[in-house]
């Protein structure tokens, strides 16, 4: 019952962490704005569930759409970059620039360009996710088995066929692995974008609430939004795991160790 052990261990870990946090805050009597104890965070969320739920949906939507667009862009870009070393080397500095440029600084310019509301947030989220996905796409597309490529060449497969049948599936594991850490990045970008967008609290996401709470030094809503964003991240990671389990059934990362085979359902496995 390996699965239950893992879940139990995680729950224990989180519970201990929460306990230490709670005790620390109570003992040091730190101000609410600086650090809110878990008990008060949960109380704040329980007082206004609808507000936070709606806001979480907005933030989640921003992150999800941004990731999806970035994913699509990076596959196209990756295919182009993977096909030519020159283009790849030429684009690398640009991608790195995007990766390291502090979006915190240029976001107001984006708002000025795209106006208020969703567009600037989506733009920012997509922008921050593109470099990571593109690097992953290039690496993944290049990792396809050279013997398989020769095999397809022996029947004069077109470039598109090679891309679709061989290279993209080869790139899938690294792309999904990258999406795990892109989730944190995009949620941060979404949060920041909503906050810097100056839309009214009614239509905004967690970032909007958070920014307004921060400017009024209200610790409770601020930390509640932080907590909610973390929860979104956890849900996102869970989704990625689920997708991996389904799409990467064949991949070595999804295989149980040989030691588990005896306890697992008998699979049609040929163990030499």
């Amino acid at each position: 019952m390996r699965g239950w052990r893992v879940v139990f261990a995680s729950v224990v870990g989180i519970a201990v962490f929460g306990l230490v946090w709670e005790v620390f805050v109570r003992v040091t009597d730190v101000a609410e704005f600086i650090l809110l104890p878990p008990s008060k965070i949960i109380a704040e969320l329980a007082d206004n569930p609808a507000v936070y739920w709606d806001a979480a949906l907005v933030t989640g939507r921003h992150a999800l759409i941004g990731i999806a667009i970035a994913f699509a862009i990076s596959i196209v870009a990756g295919a182009v970059l993977a096909s030519s070393r020159f283009i790849e080397q030429a684009s690398q500095p640009v991608l790195v620039l995007i990766l390291v440029a502090p979006w915190v600084a240029y976001f107001t310019s984006i708002v000025a360009w795209l106006g208020r509301g969703d567009p600037p947030v989506l733009f920012l989220v997509t922008l921050v996710a593109v470099p990571a996905f593109t690097f992953a796409a290039v690496s993944g597309l290049r990792s396809s088995d050279p013997a398989a490529r020769e095999l397809l060449a022996s029947v004069n497969a077109s470039r598109l066929e090679v891309l679709w049948r061989l290279r993209l599936p080869s790139a899938l594991p690294v792309l999904l692995a990258t999406s795990r850490y892109v989730i944190g990045l995009t949620l941060a970008a979404a949060y920041y974008g909503e906050g810097g967008n100056l839309t009214s609290v009614g239509e905004g996401g967690l970032g909007t609430i958070g920014r307004s709470a921060a400017s009024q030094s209200q610790g409770r809503p601020l930390w509640a939004t932080v907590f909610a964003t973390v929860l979104l991240g956890v849900v996102g990671l869970g989704l990625v795991s689920l997708i991996e389990r389904v799409l990467l059934r064949w991949h070595v990362s999804q295989r149980r160790s040989p030691l588990d085979v005896a306890s697992a359902r008998p699979a049609r496995r040929w163990v030499p």
């Binding site: 013997a147 095999l151 060449a153 029947v155 004069n156 049948r165 599936p169 064949w250 295989r255």
Partner: protein, 253 residues
């Protein structure tokens, strides 16, 4: 092949190869590592271009032959797609470039059954042993029903016992087909068992040291390996290989 020479930069891999393979013949290219035998195979399949000389497949260029899917290629490693089941891997070459699939194409399911993998059609490659994977690779090439089969040391990574089983299997499969087979190997018994003629390549730069006719009875049975004629053939081939190993290297003029 006529007067085919192949350079990789300054490295001369093959020199002045003249080789004719008759339709329906099984020819083995035998040589030590580095003798250029894989290069020779790839030149026939059009996966590489000769530096000089001419390569023709069935009167057409190798590129044209590949375009009409008249070449079935079995690479050294099985190169199965890990995300596809055995059945779908076997039909891979049929799906690619679909318009060029000939009428002589054979059913993957039937072929899988012939090689003994009928129960594994829904398995994934990682669940199979090396020998089983290589059998899928064989089926994949044979489904094309192509007039030419090129095999690049397909059994090189297998243990001795599995190798023997595989060459008996391959001989049985080829028996019923009018396919021309060019098979690359460094194993002498393999070349004697499988082929009508064996082409022996020297050390780099690879030149043809000799071509041996193998006159053992067809269809080949596993017990022919105990036949004195079999042993005599392997002896002659080993002598040729030895000759090829001690040939002096002279710079190409």
């Amino acid at each position: 092949m006529r007067g085919v020479t192949k350079f990789f930069g300054r490295l001369e891999a093959l020199r002045l190869i003249d080789l004719d393979v008759a339709p329906g013949e099984v020819v083995t290219v035998l040589g030590a590592s580095g003798s250029g035998k894989t290069t020779l195979l790839r030149l026939i399949g059009g996966l590489a271009e000769p530096s000089s000389g001419l390569v023709e497949v069935d009167g057409a260029s190798p590129h044209e032959a590949r375009d009409s899917k008249r070449v079935g290629f079995v690479p050294q490693s099985p190169a199965l797609l890990p995300w596809r089941t055995v059945a779908r891997n076997a039909s891979l070459l049929l799906e690619v470039n679909r318009d060029a699939t000939s009428d002589a194409a054979r059913s993957p399911t039937e072929l899988l059954a012939e090689v003994g993998l009928a129960e594994f059609t829904d398995a994934y490659p990682h669940e199979l042993s090396g020998g089983m994977q290589q059998r899928v690779a064989l089926v994949r090439a044979m489904t094309l029903g192509a007039p030419l089969l090129l095999m690049d040391e397909p059994f090189a990574a297998l243990d001795e016992i599995t190798r023997e089983d595989m060459r008996h299997l391959l001989a049985r499969l080829c028996e019923s087909l009018p396919t021309t087979v060019v098979f690359v190997t460094h194993s002498v018994p393999e070349s004697v068992y499988l082929s009508d003629r064996v082409v022996v390549l020297s050390q780099r730069p690879g030149r043809i040291v000799g071509i041996e006719q193998i006159d053992l009875p067809r269809p080949r049975q596993p017990d022919v390996e105990d036949d004195p004629a079999f042993f005599a053939a392997t002896k002659r081939l080993r002598a040729l290989l030895h000759e090829g190993a001690t040939l002096h290297w002279t710079p190409a003029v």
